[in-house]
């Protein structure tokens, strides 16, 4: 039986303090700080504290983590080691270009490789995360239309889109027009009806969040082009098509990638990630500055573009993440990336064959690629919901799928096994999912019972926010 470590771990401020010496603060009295209520602990106690906490956490290294749309693939350890160097860490962003030729070369090479993988003409590595890439892309959309003397204020997204798509479009000042899906794909009639001279861009994930490839992509791109709008590729699902097809060839004008998904850099409990943005040649001049250029054998920053949207983050992007992705691409190569995609799609289809049945149904017909969404609505009559299945999976030491997304599927469970898992691991996952569907409903509803805590009262957390340790006493 699976058990996660479970400590009644005190908060840092509840651990017994060690006395330390007096520090003479030489600051003018008017602004000198009197009280500073931070803990004074021994290194021994601090390390023990955080090791205990790490043991109450589940990562890809712990086991299967098939969160749909998140591409939780294994993070090769070489990547971590490659980034542990003073030549990565102890580099100041304002250093003379002659002293950072290594960093510039890696970024330059990575940009080129991403162009090859996606079929785009230029990349910027500056965006820090996927949503940040989307925001950057939307700023480029705006700059492009403005340079044509046009003010277009609508961005179209399908109802199956990630939440970040409409949020990013709004942040760039666009109105969001959501169109319904038909049979799990873009409804061409709805798209045609929504497209107008006012459309700035259409944002699309392909394959979409249901794991279905948008077969009509060439038709979609023609229609979008016809009204003078741009086609935007949300790269969250690139893992499904590497070496098989390229967004650039599908007619996408702008793409963002998630290096922390497709290119195996770890998610870090939410970040740091990297969300590079690639564009077709005619949009290159709008990319953020600086660009990295190569003169002869030397690399340098180029700030000269007059059309650039400027900066989207403080410096040049999350360099260690970029380096790890570069190492991953070198390691995999053209053959390895294609194989990763084939294996990811194969694993997903294998898992479908094992999971879809009387308990879990697959809404919409057709093929699935690297991920799929099942509906657990058949379990409702037994009083079991998708959330209950998810929580019960924890009892078996397995991370659940993404649940209740996309919104267009009732009791949705979105599963992305990635290429990393063995057939044995997939068999086991399917076996447990099916077993849970037949377990005593009461047990499932009360799960988890093997995790460090049982289900949390999220309503209480929102109603009565306790957001720091001082709030407990209030």
């Amino acid at each position: 039986m699976y058990r996660m470590a479970n400590y009644d771990e005190p908060l840092l401020n509840e651990i017994e303090e060690r006395k330390v010496g007096h520090i003479d603060i030489k600051i003018q009295d008017k602004i000198k700080r009197k009280e500073l209520n931070l803990p004074s602990l021994s290194e021994r106690d601090v390390v023990k504290h955080f090791i205990h906490l790490s043991q109450m956490n589940y990562g890809v290294d712990t086991g299967i983590y098939p969160l749909g749309s998140c591409t939780m693939k294994y993070n090769p350890k070489l990547l971590e080691e490659a980034a542990k160097s003073d030549k990565v860490e102890d580099i100041h962003p304002y250093q003379d270009e002659l002293t950072v030729q290594g960093s510039l070369e890696i970024m330059y090479n990575l940009e080129n490789m991403l162009c090859k993988i996606t079929g785009m003409n230029a990349f910027s590595l500056q965006p820090i995360a996927g949503a940040h890439g989307e925001f950057t892309g939307m700023l480029i959309v705006r700059a492009y239309h403005e340079s044509n003397g046009e003010e277009r204020n609508e961005v179209i997204v399908p109802d199956s889109a990630h939440g970040t798509n409409p949020a990013s479009a709004r942040m760039a000042g666009f109105e969001v027009v959501e169109i319904p899906s038909k049979d799990g794909r873009v409804d061409m009639d709805a798209l045609r009806a929504a497209l107008s001279k006012n459309t700035a861009a259409f944002m699309l994930t392909n394959p979409n969040t249901l794991g279905i490839f948008e077969k009509d992509i060439l038709e979609i791109s023609r229609e979008v082009r016809k009204v003078g709008a741009l086609l935007y590729y949300d790269g969250a699902n690139l893992n499904a098509i590497m070496g098989k097809a390229r967004p650039g060839d599908m007619g996408f004008d702008i793409v963002h990638l998630n290096l922390h998904k497709t290119f195996a850099t770890p998610h870090g409990g939410g970040g740091p990630g990297a969300g590079p943005v690639g564009v077709k040649a005619e949009l290159k001049k709008f990319l953020p500055v600086p660009r990295i250029v190569k003169d002869g054998e030397a690399y340098r920053f180029d700030y000269s573009s007059n059309h650039s949207i400027g900066k989207v983050s403080n410096f040049y992007g999350n360099f260690p993440v970029l380096l790890k992705a570069y190492a991953y691409i070198l390691m995999k190569g053209s053959d390895g990336l294609k194989e990763a995609t084939e294996r990811a799609v194969l694993n997903s289809n294998y898992l479908i064959s094992k999971i879809v049945g009387e308990h879990y149904m697959l809404p919409f017909g057709g093929n699935r690629m690297h991920e799929f969404v099942v509906s657990a609505k058949n379990l409702k009559e037994r009083g079991i919901r998708a959330l209950d299945v998810a929580k019960r999976l924890l009892d078996y030491g397995m991370h659940p799928p993404t649940v209740y997304f996309p919104l267009i599927v009732e009791e949705a469970m979105m599963i992305e096994p990635t290429e990393s898992e063995s057939m044995e691991a997939l068999d086991r996952y399917a076996e447990i999912m099916n077993k849970i569907a037949e377990e005593d409903a009461e047990v499932v509803r009360n799960a988890p019972s093997n995790a460090p805590i049982s289900r949390v009262d999220e309503a209480l957390a929102a109603r009565n926010p306790v957001l720091k340790w001082d709030d407990f006493s209030k």
Binding site: R142, M171, D457, V466
Partner: protein, 434 residues
């Protein structure tokens, strides 16, 4: 494949229209681990790190010590290979650490709530301007002329499409933002005012009463950009009117060429529901046991989609774990010791530079950065120093034409007496040649 009843892997990709199908990518084939490792090392060798070449660059980012225990903690793969903690029962470790991070930020800043991070200090500023507008429903956001140009550029991108007008105020003879210039915006439309402590020139803010007064007069939100280390020894921004406190969360995180650092974001409790980003709250589980989870999620994109306070999803969570473990390892007095060491070292270097003929244009107290003007051409001086294996200070002239020959020095606990002496010696020598 057998079990799926397919003969070729291509059958799984048949939805891709034939005319765009490709077979492979035009990059080299895969390499062995050992080859990759060698290749990466070969390229990185071309970099000169702080270890190879002491650097005196300022500009809001500087070398600081990262204790080995911090490295060890963030190398725990249960932390670094986990996703955003959507399943709290399996993520208590990350969630409690994040809650502790929020607590530490609030203690340093005096704010009531902090999120788990923005991408960096510049995007924190962009989000703070947007939040000021959401709270105040007004649209002018005032910034000092002397902040980094990168921050201004990022801010412009975050502000412009939200209908926010950014206005600049000049700096005074002490190098501080001239806050009296804000009064002319004291009409109806002032949403927020951004100030820094220490500011881009390294000057420590000591106008507590004046800032409170401006706040009262204008009714604007005060956004403070801070170095968290300075806050261990000076009064928290809550005492001089701050409503939102942001900054570069460098603690426990190396310089990394400027990336993989976190943006601090904290605010007063009345505005917490307008905050961007992930927030962790304490609650109880079904058995009444203390537990942590993400909270106030109705602000966020995965729930509210287009109506969210921000589009942020991935953040810099692991950097926040590095931050809180740094604070825990250093402890209250350890932090203060480092803060004093930074100030002492900066003062030592500045005095030495003055003694060889430099001038300091501003006479405000400074923390670990300061502006100094050499008696010779600054850029030429830097080139000479580079040849001697020393990286000189940041040249301000490119972005502040009125400070054409000024250099911005950054000095921390990483700079030994020997490094500082050597740099000044080399500077004096180079001055003769320039």
């Amino acid at each position: 494949m057998e079990k799926l009843g397919i003969e070729s892997i291509d059958e799984l990709f048949e939805d891709i229209p034939e005319e765009i199908r490709i077979d492979g990518i035009d990059i080299p084939t895969g390499k062995d681990e050992i080859e990759v490792e060698r290749e990466i090392r070969r390229i990185l060798k071309k970099n000169k790190s702080f270890e190879d070449m002491p650097s005196f660059l300022g500009g809001g980012i500087k070398p600081h010590y990262v204790p080995p225990a911090v490295r060890h903690i963030v190398s725990r793969s249960e932390f670094y290979t986990s996703y955003t903690p959507y399943q709290p029962e399996f993520s208590q470790g990350m969630l409690q650490s994040m809650f502790e991070y929020q607590s530490v930020i609030c203690e340093l800043t005096g704010m009531d709530a902090a999120n788990i991070s923005m991408y960096d200090a510049a995007t924190s500023l962009g989000e703070a301007a947007r939040m000021s507008k959401r709270v105040s429903r007004k649209d002018i956001f005032v910034i000092p002329k002397n902040i980094s140009w990168e921050k201004k550029s990022v801010l412009a991108n975050y502000a412009r499409n939200a209908g926010i007008k950014v206005k600049e105020i000049p700096y005074d003879s002490k190098g501080r933002a001239d806050i009296s210039a804000i009064e002319k915006y004291a009409g109806e439309e002032l949403a927020g005012i951004y100030l820094e402590n220490p500011n881009f020139f390294g000057i420590i803010e000591d106008r507590i009463d004046e800032i409170n007064e401006i706040k009262e007069k204008t009714g604007a939100m005060i956004v403070m950009g801070v170095d968290p280390l300075l806050l261990s020894v000076v009064k928290p921004p809550s005492e001089y009117g701050a409503d939102i406190v942001i900054g570069d969360g460098w603690m426990g995180n190396p310089m990394n060429f400027g990336g993989s650092r976190l943006g601090i974001f904290s605010c007063r409790k009345e505005y917490v529901r307008q905050m961007p980003g992930r927030i962790i709250g304490a609650t109880v589980d079904k058995n009444g046991k203390r537990a942590f989870c993400m909270t106030l999620q109705t602000r966020e994109q995965h729930i509210r989609r287009g109506k969210a306070t921000s589009n942020i999803c991935s953040n810099e969570a692991l950097c926040a774990i590095a931050f809180v473990s740094y604070v825990a390892i250093m402890g209250r007095d350890g932090l203060r010791k480092v803060a004093m060491k930074n100030m002492e070292n900066a003062k030592y270097t500045a005095d030495k530079l003055l003694s060889v003929g430099f001038e300091m244009p501003f006479d405000g107290d400074f923390f670990n950065e300061f502006v100094a003007i050499p008696p010779v051409d600054a850029e030429a001086l830097n080139k000479k120093l580079l040849k001697k294996g020393i990286h000189g200070a940041f040249s301000l002239g490119r972005h502040f034409p009125e400070l054409k020959n000024a250099l911005l020095y950054g000095i921390t606990e990483m700079h030994t007496r020997e490094m500082m002496d050597k740099m000044v010696e080399a500077t004096e020598e180079a001055m003769g040649d320039v």
